[in-house]
């Protein structure tokens, strides 16, 4: 297990950009569910899906992150010369090479005295990005780190795949991590189960040929016009089991590491996989559902790595801009990877979600 404690780092701003374009579950009763209204009602009621904001045409994750970053840098009036690193966390980069962080470094006119790299993580990716940025600032390697996190999974799923097409939404976010002059404690723990690497997978498209002696889950190879090997595959039931098994343990663990009680925490912001998973985790933890925002998926779709910052901007930004809020953030999914942190946001820059016009 990886455990980290930081003492002089804080988040000073978070912005989120989602595409203006959206689709409703009701629009797809015929395409995805053969006109089965009862099935659509089951999905709405049980899983809490309804609307999802997805990109049009060729818009990429970096386009959304760029808009989020410009809003943050301009409105916070950030001195770009103090930004020592730009980290891009995503499963949907612009290129295999170069790093999308390099492209964004140029677009945002950041200084040459700045490192830039990509991190391949999805649902746990926001916490990963924060963890790396905290290390870089805590060690005085950088004064400010710009963390750009997002995904456009709508471009990876097959639009006819009943299992996943209606689930995912797209978003790009920007977070500024800076040195804190006062003591500011934050705590991280990160986990991996690589034996389950094929639970969520895009089997084809990179350099490894998908074969049955490497990918164990046979369903990955059951392809049709509804899912090809270069589309995203997800074993939803396995993900559900993994989430309700590991997440309550991860929350209890971070409370122990940070030496806090549940009562001291204002909100747990889980990765917004869907309402059903969050309510099941909250019930297992016996944690009041009011303290675990869960509406993001129904409003925007499952935004993978961007769902935690989007939920901060969408559900609790009125609080984090005016006062101190004690949070646990926890992402879980593709990898399988799960990462959790306990930190405080106090009077940060956190405007409402902004919309990308294509």
């Amino acid at each position: 297990m990886t455990k980290s404690t930081f003492k002089k780092v804080k988040i000073s701003g978070i912005t989120t950009c989602v595409p203006e374009n959206f689709r409703l579950l009701d629009d797809e009763i015929d395409i995805l569910y053969d006109g089965d209204i009862k099935q659509v009602d089951r999905i709405k009621k049980s899983i809490g899906l309804n609307k999802r904001h997805i990109v049009k045409d060729d818009t990429t994750t970096s386009d959304l992150c760029e808009v989020a970053a410009i809003k943050l840098l301009e409105e916070m009036n950030v001195d770009k010369s103090k930004i020592g690193a730009i980290i891009f966390v995503s499963q949907t980069p612009d290129y295999f090479q170069p790093a999308t962080a390099s492209y964004l470094h140029g677009k945002l006119a950041l200084p040459k005295e700045c490192s830039a790299f990509d991190v391949n993580q999805g649902c746990s990716g926001y916490v990963y990005g924060l963890w790396l940025a905290h290390m870089m600032v805590e060690t005085n390697s950088c004064e400010k780190v710009l963390v750009l996190v997002g995904d456009t999974l709508s471009r990876v799923v097959n639009p006819l795949d009943t299992n996943v097409a209606a689930l995912f939404g797209d978003a790009g976010t920007a977070t500024l991590v800076i040195k804190s002059n006062e003591e500011q404690n934050s705590f991280f723990s990160l986990h991996t189960n690589g034996l389950k690497f094929d639970t969520i997978i895009q089997p084809q498209g990179a350099f490894r040929k998908p074969t049955k002696n490497i990918i164990n889950d046979e369903k990955v190879f059951k392809i049709s016009d509804k899912r090809l090997l270069n589309n995203l595959y997800m074993n939803g039931a396995e993900v559900f089991n993994f989430s309700i098994e590991e997440e309550p343990k991860a929350i209890k663990e971070i409370l122990k590491i940070s030496n806090k009680t549940e009562k001291e925490i204002d909100y747990i912001i889980f990765h917004q996989a869907n309402k059903y998973i969050i309510s099941n985790i909250a019930r297992r933890l016996k944690f009041p559902i009011e303290k675990t925002p869960f509406k993001t998926t129904g409003k925007y779709g499952n935004q993978s790595s961007a769902s935690i910052p989007c939920t901060i901007c969408d559900a609790i930004n009125k609080e984090v801009v005016t006062k101190k809020v004690k949070l646990i953030l926890s992402g879980f999914g593709v990898g399988l990877s799960w990462a959790t942190c306990q930190l405080e946001l106090e009077k940060i820059f956190c405007p409402d979600v902004i919309f990308y016009k294509s």
Binding site: R42, S46, N163, I244, Y276
Partner: protein, 79 residues
Amino acid sequence: MKKITKKELLEEIKLTLQREEEISLDTELEKMDEWDSLAYISIISLYDRLFDFIITIDKLKESKTIDDLIKLVSNKLDK
């Protein structure tokens, strides 16, 4: 945790699957339209809520009938 009877569990399963038609112990899972991955996670959630444990997907897949599903938790039911 209050123990429930086999009959009550059957009713809970019917509600969980959001099924309008009657089900019995002999109902074959594969023959129900509702038996899909959404049903899997609904049963996992139901058993977690009622019995505080997480059943594996393999156990669910091995189940052929409603009775098999109930047998997975028979030792936790009110006799």
